[in-house]
Amino acid sequence: MSTTAITPPPVPFGRRLKRFMADRPLVPLIILLVILVVILQILRPGIVNERWIANTIKFAIPLAILAGCQTMTMLTGGIDLSVGTVATMSAFIMATQIVNQDPSVAFLLAMMPAVLIGLVNGIGVGVFRVHPLIMTLGTSLIGTGCLQVYQRTVIASGAKIPDFLAWLGTGVTWGFPNALLLFIPLAALIVFTLARTGFGRLLYAVGDNERATRLSGVQYWQVITALYVTSSLLAGITGLLYIGLIKAPSLSLAEPLVLPSVAAAVIGGTSIFGGRGGYTGTIIGALILTVLTTLLTILQMPEGARRILFGLIVLFVTAAYLRIVEER
């Protein structure tokens, strides 16, 4: 029996660097973001200025909040495709109700569909165990239909963007977008919830092994219902912020954000299979996507080539990130 002792060789620098990054998954993401910004600056010297940064942040914030919805639902192995519809509904209702109603009443009316859809999603997924993809797809269809019907009753009433929302959405103070006033507390709250509260713990645990949480006394439906209502409320708030930013109520306002919100969460390192991920990565993911969109807008090339490039870069970024973070 040969027993040649095997002493582990000294760890090379490359491996050490990799391990360092693997322990701090945010670092490689931020590096990727910086690389994109540098490319942009090289292609269009001077574009990276205060105004551009403010704009980028303004557009990244709604995406980041919706991606927060995806992050939280994905932690439990779910997904929330109804966020686009919910955001659109609350935006549209706000813009049309503010014309004749007190702002607080308009706000409550605007958040109502969010609560309802969240509740229905939560009950469908948590109690009836419908697959979240289908459940949220169904409710978003229903929501869109309701919005169409609603829209017909208010054609004549016109629409208005409340000044406060416009200030929040488009305003800039000392070079900082006002939207940060909403976003920073919100993001801090999400991060804190995920890391340091019982509810956050349960999201991870439920997504990892639901049976185990049941044996530990967790009631699945409670967690899931609370989750989808929270997600919908966040989407509703995003809608209000977004209408302040875009200032044009339309029946498909936030729909284009749905797929990017999923992509941002995944790029940020959240697993769609549940149990793994976090919100800080998602925020960087949203920034990466926003910068990428700018980059492609600026490039002079046929639209087809632009889309191909977008797809390839998303794939490359995600793959590179996985490579770096993955041990082994």
Partner: protein
């Protein structure tokens, strides 16, 4: 009271222009007094889906079908079957290749040409233009592109600084213009394919110079043309009420009054705020009570008979 059943097929839902078109169809059907029932297939789909809708309308045995085609050639088979089944077919907004169909349409190529030509003149025949198209791959977009290119060819000193596809989405258009403004590239004019008021907003918000802008006659933009200080621009009409005209044409044919030609083109108009005369036109057209996404030209003389209240109520016969 009426005797006819009319089928309607439309493949874009949730867009202000298309919603107005459908409301115009309903209002005209009601105002004419000749329509008993409307069968409306109105959803987001493609040409194959529209074929399905048209065939369903044939199954429903409607007397006439008014269709806003997803594609001029793609629904030929369905329209042919409808004609064979004795159904009157009218295409609105865009032409179709099926020869038996009647067409009453906005002239998209002319729409773009008219606006672009005015814009290039405003720019003094030279400079850089930001070209904001519609949805890549849509046939209305490629028609408009032809008109734009035609005008461009007439002004050799005008250059396209940047060409982007807004997808006819407000949020994308706004992000695109803001990103572009950040590059600091000087431009002398902006041509938009109907996503216009967010562009004006973006310029105002970022305190960028207000260069001449061409958009469509959407209520929001028309309002801005009168109210935003220093804004020079023009709205080119692209009436959604063309839907009502389609219903009128279908009813005329059903009553035996066939038009001389298969195709009736509604020519676009241009309302600008650079001259006093234009300003007056804009004042007359502006309608702040309308949803900002709705075109203000809610009626077409000789073709529509409903009142504003009727189209805004958006109710068809029997509702």
């Amino acid at each position: 009271a009426g005797k006819y059943t009319i089928g309607i097929s439309n493949t874009v839902q949730g867009n202000g222009w298309r919603e107005e078109m459908v409301c115009a169809m309903k209002a005209q059907a009601l105002a004419s007094g000749e329509v008993a029932k409307l069968n409306i297939a109105h959803r987001n789909t493609d040409a194959a889906g529209q074929l399905e809708d048209i065939r369903n309308l044939i199954s429903a045995k409607v007397d006439a079908i008014v269709v806003n085609p997803a594609d001029p050639a793609g629904i030929k088979a369905g329209l042919e079957e409808a004609t064979k089944a004795g159904i009157v077919v009218v295409a609105v907004d865009q032409a179709v290749t099926e020869p038996s169909a009647y067409i009453i349409s906005n002239n998209q190529e002319e729409y773009a040409y008219l606006g672009a030509k005015w814009l290039f003149k405003q720019m003094g025949g030279k400079g850089e233009v930001f070209y904001m198209r519609g949805a890549a791959g849509a046939s209305a977009d490629s028609d408009r592109d032809k008109g734009f290119k035609k005008a461009l060819a007439e002004f050799p000193d005008v250059k396209v600084a940047q060409e982007v596809f807004t997808g006819w989405q407000q949020d994308q258009a706004k992000q695109q213009i803001l990103s572009f403004l950040s590059t600091g590239t000087p431009i002398n004019g902006i041509w938009t394919s109907g996503i216009d008021n967010v562009i004006v907003d973006a310029l105002v918000e970022s305190q960028a110079p207000l260069v001449p802008i061409v958009g469509a006659d959407n209520a929001g933009f028309v309002g801005q043309l009168s109210s935003v200080k220093g804004l020079v621009g023009a709205a080119v009409t692209n009436p959604g009420s063309i839907g009502g005209a389609g219903v009128t044409l279908a009813l005329q044919i059903l009553d035996g009054k066939k038009p001389a030609q298969q195709t009736v083109l509604v020519q676009p108009q241009l309302w600008e705020n650079a001259t006093e005369e234009g300003k007056a036109k804009l004042k007359a057209a502006a309608d702040p009570s309308l949803s900002p996404e709705w075109p203000v030209s809610i009626s077409i003389p000789d073709w529509t008979t409903y009142t504003k209240d009727q189209i805004v109520a958006c109710k068809g016969p029997g509702e």
